[in-house]
């Protein structure tokens, strides 16, 4: 969301610069642009703000009166509970542990995808082997087979390998990435071939060329893919639900659901805690985007080649 904002504001400043000869219409468009932008911000941030304010009330109030707009004063209490209170069926999971699990999944997912797809793209672009183009297209067609389609066979494979309820079982089956391979392939193809030849003359072997030349050149590309993949990995729900049944492996996204599920008997679900956890679950992806955003845009705009 932060990214789209930056994008559109960059665009508007571009158009206003172009139209600077004529002042009046320019001013009008500027106001109009800002109105549109603010509407966008409101639309996107509104629910989040309401969720946040509501999470500072106690769950009885929320149950009785619905979403809240003010400051409920239970902020510290609620967030402390979410982070440190041991909950769940076994009473072993805390919010902190789930955050950690989510981080492991998000990072493993993003880094794994980058490593695997860079290596695959490197092989496809720089090595002549039989059926290279064919294998690329095979990789590419896996886009047509998202996880949801092949979930049963995938589960069976992981189960037979005894990787249920492990981090590797959670991450490894997800890290093959056709999109990543495709992006890196396009990028490598745009790197002038002479660079590889110069490196060969300079005595760099395949590994050295990859490590010394290609990886540094791909930095912005890697940052861009990292952002996207981290967010996707962090938000995984279906796959972790299947792969991990032990609560020690629960991620934040699953934790939210768990809290909401407590509607057994007369218990009122801890709405405030669920909302607080949702806020927490949103924080790291937002941080990643804010931190890497400059590199991301730089990667899209300028190319150091």
């Amino acid at each position: 969301m932060a990214v789209t904002e930056i994008d559109s504001s960059a665009e508007t400043s571009g158009t206003t610069k172009a139209a600077s000869a004529d002042n009046r219409p320019r001013r009008k468009t500027k106001i109009f642009d800002h109105v549109v932008l603010w509407l966008g911000v409101l639309l996107m941030m509104g629910p989040i703000i309401v969720a946040f304010t509501t999470s500072t009330f106690d769950h009885v109030t929320i149950h009785r009166e619905g979403m809240q707009f003010g400051w409920g004063g239970e902020f510290v209490e609620t967030y402390k509970n979410v982070l440190y209170q041991e909950g769940g069926f076994t009473g072993e999971v805390t919010g902190l542990l789930m955050t950690q699990n989510s981080l492991i999944l998000g990072l493993g997912f993003a880094i794994g995808k980058i490593v695997v797809s860079m290596l695959a793209a490197y092989a496809i672009v720089y090595f002549r082997f039989p059926l290279a183009t064919f294998s690329f297209w095979v990789i590419f067609t896996t886009l047509l087979l998202p996880l949801e389609v092949r979930i049963l066979p995938s589960y069976e494979v992981v189960q037979q390998l005894g990787m249920l309820n492990t981090y590797s079982g959670l991450i490894i089956p997800l890290i093959a990435s056709a999109t990543g391979t495709f992006f890196f392939r396009q990028f490598f193809k745009s790197v002038p071939n002479e660079l590889m030849e110069a490196a060969r003359i300079d005595g760099a072997g395949p590994v050295q060329f990859f490590w010394d030349i290609l990886v540094p050149l791909s930095k912005t590309m890697m940052a861009a893919i990292f952002i996207i993949m981290f967010v996707v990995g962090w938000n995984q729900y279906l796959w972790p639900t299947l792969m991990t049944t032990e609560e020690g492996y629960f991620t934040l996204v699953r934790g939210i659901r768990n809290i909401m599920q407590q509607m057994i008997g007369a218990d009122i679900p801890e709405y405030n805690e669920a909302l607080a956890m949702a806020m927490l679950a949103m924080l790291p992806p937002a941080l990643v985007i804010i931190i890497f955003q400059r590199m991301f845009i730089k990667g899209l705009v300028e190319q150091e080649k």
Binding site: E194, E197, A198, D202, D212, L217
Partner: protein, 347 residues
């Protein structure tokens, strides 16, 4: 001694295209040999075969007495300068120069010394810590040459290194390359499609056409005794005039005109003369040219005209009064060239 011997080199690309069709060239120690020819004639391919970047389909590449056909580029003791410089964009100039040395395990104090030396030689010392993107075209060109120099190669390979520069800088760098090569006294092959570059730089020129050698010789030889009509029309600007004629009994007939020609050959020939080697003697006899357009170039002028159906160009000193309507040309014996009209070879 001979630094490089190319023996009957053939290159066939996997798609079946034959880019080099049996070329043999020797490069002597300290010699600068220029491969020149039109675009697509195979000069880059030949150079890349020497570098080891293209496999040799057939024939031999021998460097310093050792056949290198199957050696990796890094093991051949060559250095190459690319047209687009191919500098590593993320490394400083210093690292660009040092990279090859580092990969060969050169001790770091020696690397530093060599980099400083090359930097001083090429006047890029003050840029050593900049990135290539912060340099001008000419400076990048120097860095590319620096990267070649630090390796102390047996031979330098240049593939159209100046074509990305503007005209003025190109002339300047051309001179510098020549000076540098003389100073280092290292053999070099320089590939270009620009015949001016070829003439000014070369100790010897190899004129390539369609994957084959048309002529090998010094610039003077190639200019004054072209072996084929191709060389005649490729070397020299404007190119040599070529007109069909008929030779019999020591007389060359072109249209109604005939002139004595010291040749035993008989039959149809292609007659060639250089624009700058024809006299307008004002006499009533000679090869008659109908004058068309005249171009003033400052020091001299180009007179475009026709002999029968054939376009010819004559260069004239700008001090002389421009001719009008029609002119008569006469030639010195050594400035006339005869070629076989079918094969294009000199007769």
């Amino acid at each position: 001694m001979t630094t490089l011997r190319i023996r009957n080199a053939i290159k066939q690309y996997p798609n079946g295209a034959q880019a080099v069709k049996g070329v043999s060239v020797d490069v002597e120690d300290g010699e600068l040999v220029v491969f020149v020819g039109p675009s697509g004639c195979g000069k880059s391919t030949l150079l890349r075969m020497v570098a080891g970047l293209e496999e040799v389909t057939d024939g031999e590449i021998e460097l310093n007495g050792r056949v290198v056909n199957n050696l990796e580029p890094a093991d051949r003791n060559i250095a190459m300068v690319f047209q687009n410089y191919a500098l590593y964009p993320h490394m400083s100039v210093r690292k660009n120069l040092a990279y090859g040395l580092k990969n060969r395990g050169t001790p770091s104090d020696e690397i530093d010394r060599k980099v400083e030396e090359a930097g001083a030689l090429l006047q890029i010392s003050e840029f050593l810590d900049r990135k290539p993107s912060q340099l001008s075209g000419g400076q990048r060109q120097r860095v590319a040459m620096g990267r070649a120099i630090v390796r102390n190669p047996a031979i330098f390979l240049f593939d159209e290194p100046l074509s990305n520069l503007d005209a003025k800088l190109r002339n300047q760098m051309r001179l510098e390359i020549k000076k540098l090569q003389r100073r280092l006294d290292t053999a070099a092959i320089y590939v270009t499609h620009d015949q001016v570059e070829a003439m000014t730089l070369a100790d010897r020129i190899v004129v390539l056409n369609n994957g084959m050698v048309e002529q090998i010789g010094t610039p003077t030889e190639v200019y004054s005794r072209p072996a084929t009509t191709f060389v005649a029309s490729f070397i020299g600007a404007p190119p040599m005039n070529l007109i069909p004629g008929e030779l019999s009994k020591g007389q060359l007939h072109i249209g109604a005109h005939s002139m004595p020609m010291n040749s035993a050959h008989a039959g149809p020939v292609t007659f060639g003369f250089r624009p700058e080697r024809a006299h307008m003697n004002g006499a009533a006899s000679g090869l008659a040219v109908e004058i068309g357009v005249i171009e003033e170039l400052g020091a001299h002028r180009l007179i475009h005209g026709r002999v029968g159906d054939h376009e010819v160009t004559v260069a004239q000193d700008a001090e002389l009064p421009p001719p009008d309507g029609r002119m008569m040309l006469a030639f010195n014996e050594q400035d006339t060239h005869l070629f076989d009209p079918d094969t294009g070879a000199r007769v």
